[in-house]
Amino acid sequence: MSLVKLQGIRKSYGSNEVLKGIDLTVNEGQVVALIGRSGSGKSTLLRTINGLEEINGGALEVDGEMLRPGHTNLRALRMKVGMVFQQFNLFPHLSAIENVMLAPVVVKKQNKAEAREVAAACLAKVGLADKEKSYPDQLSGGQQQRVAIARALAMQPRVLLCDEITSALDPELVNEVLNVVRKLAEEGMTLILVTHEMRFARDVCDNLVFMHGGKIREQGEPEQLFAAPATAELSQFVGSVAFH
């Protein structure tokens, strides 16, 4: 069953068209990786799915919530779409558990006790049960990013968007975050990730989407895509990234 459906999404910054008509369908429980060179529009595409970027054309549907150009009520959409950022973006004045509780209390009007329980469970899920009371600046980058994942999970989104969530991390901290994502994938969470971790993409993702110049150039199963790129751009891209 399709959960996320993009049809002809267009997005421009001034005269610069960054997304040139994107069609993409993501099914429930699918794990999709967006790959492509820097500047190809991956982040922009991900951000439109959360309504952080207004679209100029096309339509977007997530679990029955429609979004069209000029639409301003994004709340319903955002409650179904969680997002994790490259720079973590934790709220510095709140402890880990307060970071996770905030949206359920403020947006979903959960009572605090209930929200705290959910938040504690989310933190435990990302392996940070013992860090509830720590503030962001007391946590390592990997821990901060896991709190950010827990924060998104606490809203019980239908789909989770991850934009290069390990790119700002020291190499030795990458795996603790990827392992959390892998676990979510195994549990059947629908995920759309932008990643440069090609080995991870190959191992975990069901579907790979290669973007180039604001368009989807190729998509398919990872093994097949990596083994036999159909376009010169993809084979060049595959050649340029290391599989570590």
């Binding site: 709340r75 997002m83 973006n89 905030l102 947006v107």
Partner: protein, 223 residues
């Protein structure tokens, strides 16, 4: 020939001085609480998307920041009654303090808000919060923490500036000094003692504001 100083002639009026100090403190407290409150609202407006509101608030801010407090005070106390707003000296002084600090704190707090990393706002939006919720829960507290030292300095400046409220006969510390020197004819001594009292008030106020800041932005051990 040499002038002989006589400070005891001032301390004979220590109850008058005390009364004056109390009024200065009171004026400052009112000015701070409502002025900073006004500043938060003003800063919220200045960072909002409504162009017309932004223009109105920045006109207010610029008008106040570019005219002397004394003239603002005269305008409120002597000028407004012409429009039917008759205020007592104390009310006029308080109002002037609030309006004055409101403008400065709007500017200071706005700078604090604008220093919010964009990603934090996006994180809030991506969780489904609306702009008001993002402001209230994500932006304002770190912004206030960021600008607290600058705001504290401004509050001290406004407290010291309140000395001119004596000119509309608001009975604060300088008014007390004027009163005393008119009785004991010891102008220098009276103003000297008063100056020292202001200095002490400024130091105490800085300390209190620092404590308030520590308390407000303290990390609670449990949420």
């Amino acid at each position: 020939m040499a002038y002989s100083f006589d400070f005891s002639a001032v301390f004979d009026y220590s109850d008058v001085l005390l009364q004056g100090i109390l009024m200065t403190v009171q004026l400052t407290a009112v000015g701070t609480v409502f002025g900073v409150g006004l500043g938060i609202v003003g800063a919220a407006v200045m960072t909002s998307r409504s162009r017309i509101l932004r223009v109105i608030v920045s006109a207010y801010v610029e008008l106040i920041r570019n005219t002397p407090f004394l003239v603002q005070l005269f305008f409120i106390f002597f000028g407004l009654p012409a429009l039917g707003f008759r205020l007592s000296a104390w009310e006029a002084a308080s109002l002037a303090m609030v309006i004055n600090l409101g403008a400065y704190s709007t500017e200071i707090i706005r700078a604090g808000i604008e220093a919010t990393p964009k990603g934090q706002i996006e994180a809030g939006l991506s969780l489904g919060m609306n702009r008001v919720q993002v402001f209230r829960h994500i932006i304002i507290s770190p912004a206030m923490q960021r600008i607290w030292p600058a705001l504290s300095s401004q509050i001290v400046i406004v407290m010291l500036g309140s000395a001119v409220c004596s000119q509309i006969a608001a009975e604060e510390l300088t008014y007390a000094a004027n009163f005393i020197q008119s009785r004991n004819f010891r102008a220098f001594e009276s103003y000297f003692v008063t100056t020292i009292l202001y200095l002490a008030l400024a130091i105490a106020l800085r300390f209190v504001l620092k404590m308030v800041g520590n308390h407000m932005f303290k990390r609670r051990s449990h949420a």
